[in-house]
């Protein structure tokens, strides 16, 4: 399925700009739970879909924002390639206690003040880039933003703009394409994204080791200093999981060096349990925090349960502890914390005043009337 709705979308933005109507940009709705809630008239981009070009030899794919992520991943897989940043889909509905009440906004499917995560909802490319999330391979292969080569977008003046392109290196003008990754659509309606892709590794295995979570941090820091073909490392509270990817010989060599039990069905473990958060750790009602830390940061003495991913650089945290306590401890260790699911209040670590002021000026540069996803990241953006 393929449809180019860029003109329609541009007209919708022009009308909204003329009337000063705020817009809630939506793809498949799979990540509606992220951020401070949606506000504004829905602007649905899911219909603007289709792969525009894919040249396996160029290692580049360009697709419209509404293209289902699964469509892109399947197409790449046929050519023996993949998205290196392993983006989470969050397609499946989660147990209701984790559904977060919206501070304000429009319910998606008539469930009162709950965000309805529709079972058939599908993650889109645009939403994936706007949210800027990356999966277990992130520390070893780079992030969503790292793989953005170009975007086409509509700004708050209803202009269609193109930045970056389909080439690996491009320094003409400011890098306004990578800036869109993780901006939650607050700087424009992403119409099209070009991404760098890579060949799938020839061999991939996962080793499981018995280690305490806190001890594994020092061990992981030590592994990071060695030239090993690591491609994921997580501790689920019980055991340490190490994924190795690369040439068959390299994987075999590292396997004997590291030791540990070979995990059967490792693909499903990383995809369903860790990336898509199907692990038992993610069940239950306690708020889920995402702590982003320097990989070698020590164990944080906070009350709650941890699941370590990204070799220690992304720590999932279940707790009822107050936001200030969590954010202060994380900042002290050199990182930042965000409320990922459940809970109430602000979602992202507050910005220092000078940074917030700069953010507001950048927002103004793209979207002077604050039409797009107002308040989704920070109240004043």
């Amino acid at each position: 399925m393929s449809a180019d709705l860029s003109r329609d979308l541009q007209e919708r933005v022009a009308e909204a700009a003329a009337a000063g109507t705020q817009l809630a940009i939506a793809g498949g709705g799979s990540k509606a739970f992220l951020g401070r809630g949606e506000r504004g008239v829905p602007l649905n981009v899911a219909g603007h879909r289709g792969v525009v070009s894919y040249e396996p030899r160029e290692l580049v794919i360009t697709a419209r924002a509404g293209t289902p992520l699964s469509e892109i991943e399947n197409l790449l897989a046929v050519q023996g390639q993949m998205l290196p940043f392993e983006p989470p889909h969050f397609d499946c509905p989660l147990p209701s206690p984790l559904m977060k009440p919206l501070p304000f906004g429009i319910p998606l499917a008539g469930e009162g003040d709950k965000v309805a995560l529709r079972p058939h909802s599908i993650a889109t490319l645009g939403g994936t880039i706007a949210c800027g999330l990356s999966g277990p391979r992130r520390p070893y292969a780079g992030s969503a933003r790292d793989h953005v080569l170009g975007v086409r977008l509509i700004n708050g003046r209803a202009e269609q703009l193109r930045f970056g392109g389909e080439v690996m290196k491009n320094v003409a003008g400011y890098d306004l394409s990578r800036l869109q990754a993780g901006a939650f659509g607050t700087l424009g309606v992403i119409l099209e994204v070009s991404l760098k892709v890579v060949p799938r590794p020839a061999e991939e295995i996962t080793l499981v080791q018995d280690r305490y979570a806190a001890d594994s941090l020092a061990y992981l820091a030590d592994l990071a200093r060695r030239p090993l073909p690591l491609s994921a490392a997580c501790h689920d509270g019980d055991r340490l999981y190490l994924r190795l990817s690369g040439a068959a010989t390299a994987v075999a060599q590292s396997r004997s060096q590291l030791g540990g039990e070979l995990l059967a069905d490792a693909g499903a473990f990383w995809r369903d349990k860790i990336k898509e958060q199907g692990h038992a750790f993610f069940e239950g009602g306690a708020p889920l925090w995402r702590l982003s830390l320097p990989p070698a940061a020590p164990w944080l003495p906070l009350p709650g349960k941890f699941l370590l991913d990204w070799g220690g650089a992304q720590r999932w945290f279940r707790t009822e502890a107050p936001a200030e306590l969590i954010q202060q401890a994380t900042a002290k260790a050199g990182g930042h914390a965000s409320l990922f699911r459940g809970g109430h209040g602000e979602v992202f670590q507050p910005l220092p005043p000078a940074m917030l002021a700069l953010h507001r000026r950048i927002k103004h540069a793209f979207d002077p009337q604050h039409l797009f996803n107002p308040g989704r990241m920070y109240a004043s953006l």
Binding site: L161, K169, A181
Partner: protein
């Protein structure tokens, strides 16, 4: 401007130590150009702060009196980015050159902007670590300049550009605010301002502290050198290697004239009768490297290579690379002057672009040697000319402009790693629509509303473009 030159110098002297202000012509002369010496401007005055506080004081002074500021690292830039402003302060960061700390657990190095690229890897080497982006100018260029240009290197195919390897920086804005961008975690809250600041060519702020990621030195690296009797075959071989599922650490190509010049200069043992050579490096564990080299050899031979060699030892590997890294100065030896272009294209258009470049070269009667980062489609055609011959520089620039427009036409870009600077300001009008250029200007306003940082570079004014578009031989390309 509210200060005349003498008062500005006095005001700077009041803020900075004696040796940190240069105003005499002979002292200022070394700063009159960067690596693109066709553009020269004697600095109005040079400030050389020793500390972040001193740099901040200079910016505040300039902000207060509306005086333009041009930051400068080592001055190796190839687009005139560090070209001084006739009535502004040239702010050299060269004395901010301390390595502040290396974190062996977190795998980062925090350095001042004037630290040379290679000095970081040298300092990290005892820990078995290195900084991956390796511009050919790495002995001289500074990390501040690398950040400002988003520089690449021969190993960027696998390890990425500066933007993929720098995780935090302290940025002084023109009003003297010190912003901390990024962090040592793998992401930071808010917008990705690291992406915005990197590659901003000194137009948004001045980087005064930079934290880079370090990588463990691979167990082994090996390079294959393949010779071809036809440039197009070499171009095709590049695609075949990628199609075989291997991402080499580096994949570089040189054509006949470049091979000859490099061989005469460094005696790397290159086959000088070849029409093109490819240098293909793989790294990783010992066995992985053997596995990949064997596969690459097959692919190269199947693609019609007339010869495939691998380096016998570390010394020969270094020598193969030395020839490539010295290619620009090598070409500099065989011609009074050379002009280095920097377009990037989708790799599949390589044969066409090379053919049309050769046609243009004949049409203008100016020889062109080609050196490129073949793996990522980044071309460096070197136009050989003699600036002392009347009109030859102008013709060279016109030819260069045509080559860049050709890159845009096939879906590429006018600059892959050297930046727009003053040099490619006109071609920005070809690559971007007026609304896109306006968006760039709006972003600039968010950082520097008075437009004091590196004015006249990077982003053309609407007038620049209307004048350029009005020229009879010009046309812009609609995006499709």
């Amino acid at each position: 401007m509210s200060l005349d030159r003498a008062s500005l110098i006095n005001a700077l002297r009041a803020l900075l130590p004696e040796d940190a202000v240069l105003e005499q012509e002979e002292a200022c002369r070394p700063y009159e150009c960067d690596g693109l010496s066709a553009y020269r401007q004697l600095p109005y005055v040079v400030a050389l702060p020793h500390s972040v506080d001193e740099a901040r004081a200079v910016l505040k002074l300039c902000h207060e009196h509306r005086i333009p500021v041009v930051a400068r690292g080592a001055g190796t830039g190839l687009s005139g980015g560090a070209l001084p402003h006739a009535e502004g302060v040239l702010l050299s960061l060269a004395r901010l050159n301390r390595i502040l700390r290396i974190d062996p657990a977190g795998l980062t190095a925090t350095v001042e902007p004037g630290v040379r690229n290679l000095a970081i890897s040298e300092a990290a080497a005892p820990l078995g670590l290195y900084y991956a982006p390796d511009p050919s100018s790495q002995i001289a260029c500074t990390i501040g300049g690398n950040v400002a240009e988003n520089s690449g290197g021969v190993h960027c195919l696998k390890y990425g550009l500066t933007v993929h390897n720098v995780c935090a920086m302290k940025l002084l804005t023109i009003d003297g605010e010190l912003l901390e961008l990024g962090g040592t975690a793998l992401d930071a809250p808010g917008y990705d301002l690291m992406a915005l600041a990197i590659g901003s060519e000194g137009m948004l702020g001045v980087a005064v502290e930079i934290t880079v990621r370090l990588l463990p030195v691979p167990e082994r690296a090996q390079v294959a050198l393949a010779a071809f009797d036809d440039v197009e075959k070499a171009g095709t071989a590049v695609g075949e290697i990628i199609a075989a599922g291997i991402i080499p650490a580096g994949l570089e190509m040189m054509d006949g004239p470049a091979i000859q010049a490099a061989e005469d200069f460094v005696h790397a043992g290159y086959p000088t009768d070849a029409a093109a050579i490819l240098l293909c490096e793989v790294d990783g564990t010992n066995q992985e490297v053997s596995e990949h080299i064997a596969r690459i050899r097959q692919v190269l031979e199947a693609s019609g290579a007339t010869e495939v060699r691998t380096a016998r030892d570390e010394a020969e590997r270094a020598l193969f690379w030395k020839g490539r890294k010295a290619a620009f100065p090598a070409v500099g030896r065989i011609s009074p002057d050379y002009y280095c272009m920097d377009g990037t294209i989708p790799r599949r258009h390589l044969p066409e672009v090379l053919r049309r470049t050769a046609e243009l070269s004949r049409e203008y009667g100016l020889p062109v040697a080609n050196v490129f980062h073949a793996g990522d489609g980044n071309l460096h055609p070197l136009i050989l000319f003699d600036a002392n011959k009347p009109g030859e520089l102008e013709r060279t620039e016109e030819l260069g402009g045509k080559i860049l427009e050709l890159c845009v036409e096939v879906g590429g870009t006018i600059t892959g790693e050297h930046g727009v600077g003053i040099e490619k300001i006109k071609q920005m009008c070809v690559q971007f629509q007026p609304e896109e250029l306006n968006q760039f200007r709006a972003v600039k306003q968010a950082f520097d509303p008075l437009e004091l940082l590196n004015p006249g570079k990077g982003v053309p004014t609407p007038r620049h473009c209307s004048e350029y578009r009005a020229l009879p031989h010009k046309h812009t390309h609609e995006h499709s």
